[in-house]
Subunit: 401 residues, 2 copies
């Protein structure tokens, strides 16, 4: 699993010990090797390009392409021919800064060890879109189709402006880097985002909420999984609530309102509010029952070397912490249940899948659903962006009591 | 002149001071920018490729190509489209190791500051071949034509074997890296070698010796230069000698004999023995006469940051030092005159321009010279490799008394 090899070489001269460190991008599949290589290359390139004082319109149309052709060299670990294209390098560098993601942290999380395919949702290995999660669970990597890439480009200036305005405090996906990898003629678009779910706290219950109750229940097959993705109707039927401290609940609605207003302005809809719930008592019980030698997964962070001269800044969170509550440092999307609540829960709440433009494609979907469900169209997922946003905010407001 | 910019940024979070360092490959001409970029890229790549335990035949046919296409990105400093091809990366990495050149030292010397065109010989800026010298004078960078590149490839395995056999103690050029740069369709081959001349000790007199006395005198125009390249006849007419300690003189002849035997086996000839002479008394007088603010050129080394955790190993030298003599650490080709000699001189002696194959081209040159000089062909530069080698060793032996 480790992709690092440290070799101690005793230098013959002057008895000095040299410690070359071979950082290999060895991964289970070429797309991950090239991804790790690409992150390393693009982050390194930025060390040689001072950030512009102000992002200019051209920065949002920029790209940097690198093409590698090796012959009889490094063929054990990497493909011999591959390309990496980074989109808008200065824009995403600035977004990382806005979101408090240090470039070294980004590099370390994505390249120290191979990202793992996120098969929690039981999707097949070759399904699309594909998800990967960084070894330290900080970042998710998702494949995109070219339409989504085009959509992201078309909203990027507005997105950047909005993120700056909000000083990074938004529930929108944190887009941190956009890449196209080409291996043997096959192209893969990958976007890196901050993981909504906890790094230290595993999620026990998971909801994908759209605010609609039409066709919004997990299938029996889904429910049979270890961690099913439940939906709006499951949330209501199982009498779930978001038990948040009043201050955090107010902030959640404010952010959600503002974020969905922005999404509406961009004509984006069909997004979901992803909600993960960590149950502290259940986690403690699980930890107690777990054999000692297998509980290293929660301390995966310690596997990576942290050079003493490279402090990783804490990124803080969107919500204020509860004094005396769990340590939510570096858990951006986390909210702990109030101290006086019957359970100790940690909620992870963020918006996902925002890049569906309400255009020709969606209009035909609306028409189809109206035919199918008649006048109940108001409650269908693909209503117009404004209604869509309003409905989701109302759903979440009700969930708060 | 400095290509580094350090910016102190006061982080708002937690009052930490982050010091991003922009290492720019800004240079007076694109070929140098791309060269510096290429060194940085190729040395970095090797951090991700463990060296093979043993070099295999394929390693001598290997290459690694990288192609960059930027759009609206980094266009102030670098060309937007360029390619770098490194030849036989594992072979040259091993050669650097054989010659005691640490990869970090190599990177630092060639990329911390722009290499300077070496115009000491008064050649025009666009002459071929072009010479550059690293800011710290450790390495020279020379342009090559594709024939010389092919010749180097054809002798590389033998060269590597010979260097290993001699444990790096040879007067042959130390080939440390071979690159092809392509900028706007124009290709430049560059070879990096250790500088024969001193880093700390400027050369006052310079000879290019071939052991021949036919047409081997510097022109009046050449002699009018600050540091003319004198030749065999100038050496004899001005009654120069190589006043070396007996031990060093013996070693010089041994190395020269062995090296020229290898060159003969490779059918290489027309090479020169480059001899530079530093006069310590003259240097002291020059330093005394020099205005204080201009004498920083000899301490250029201190301009570069030396991370405390990256010790640069000393590379030692080909010749034993004289106890009580000048500090010749890291001056591979240096020999100090003996303590009892009337002057304090430091000689820098190495073989250069070895890549001329005695083939069809040279045979016709021999024929032409034989016609011109009649039976005196024995003394002409382009005699057969064996005679060529023998003649040079004899010339140097006589110069030693």
């Amino acid at each position: 699993m480790s992709t690092k090899k440290k070799t101690k070489v005793l230098s013959k001269k002057k008895g000095k010990i040299l410690v070359p460190k071979w950082k290999l991008f060895r991964a289970k599949e070429p797309v991950l090797s090239v991804f790790m290589w690409g992150i390393n290359h693009t982050v390194d390139q930025l060390l040689h390009v001072p950030p512009p004082g102000l992002l200019m319109p051209d920065d949002f149309k920029a790209y940097s392409k690198v093409k590698i052709d090796n012959h009889n060299f490094n063929k054990d670990i990497m493909p011999s021919h591959y390309k990496v294209k980074e989109y808008c390098p200065n824009v995403f560098r600035n977004l990382r800064e806005q979101f408090g993601v240090d470039n070294f942290e980004y590099l370390r999380s994505l390249t120290s060890y191979e990202p793992e395919p996120d098969l929690l949702d039981g999707s097949a290995k070759d399904s699309t879109p594909r998800f990967f999660i960084s070894y330290d669970k900080k970042f998710v990597i998702k494949s995109m189709d070219s339409e989504a890439v085009a959509e992201l480009h078309s909203v990027l200036r507005n997105y950047h402006q909005y993120v700056v305005e909000k000083q990074g405090k938004t529930l929108l996906p944190q887009y941190l880097g956009l890449y196209r990898l080409t291996i043997e003629g096959s192209e893969t678009y990958l976007i890196v985002m901050r993981n909504v779910f906890g790094r230290k706290y595993g999620v026990h219950t998971k909801f994908d909420l759209k605010g609609s109750t039409v066709s919004r229940a997990a299938s029996d097959k889904e429910k049979a999984k270890d961690l099913p993705t439940l939906k709006d109707n499951d949330f209501l039927e199982q009498n779930w609530k978001l038990n948040l401290p009043p201050e955090a609940g107010k902030l959640l609605i404010e952010m959600l309102t503002s974020d969905t207003e922005w999404l509406t302005r961009m004509h984006l809809m069909d997004y979901s509010l992803l909600v993960g719930i960590h149950d502290c008592e259940r986690a403690a019980q699980e930890a107690a029952n777990r054999p000692v030698e297998q509980n290293s997964e929660e301390s995966g962070d310690e596997l990576a070397p942290t050079p003493p001269d490279s402090p990783i800044p804490s990124t803080g969170g969107a919500f204020p912490g509860v004094s005396g509550g769990p340590d939510l440092d570096d858990e951006f999307y986390a909210i702990a249940s109030p101290a006086d609540f019957e359970k100790n829960l940690i909620y992870f709440i963020g918006l996902v899948d925002i890049l569906t433009y309400y255009g020709i494609k969606k209009r035909s979907a609306t028409a189809a659903k109206t035919v199918k469900y008649g006048s109940d169209a108001e409650n269908i997922s693909t209503v117009k962006p404004e209604q869509y946003a309003k409905r989701l905010v109302e759903f979440v407001s009700r969930a708060l009591n």
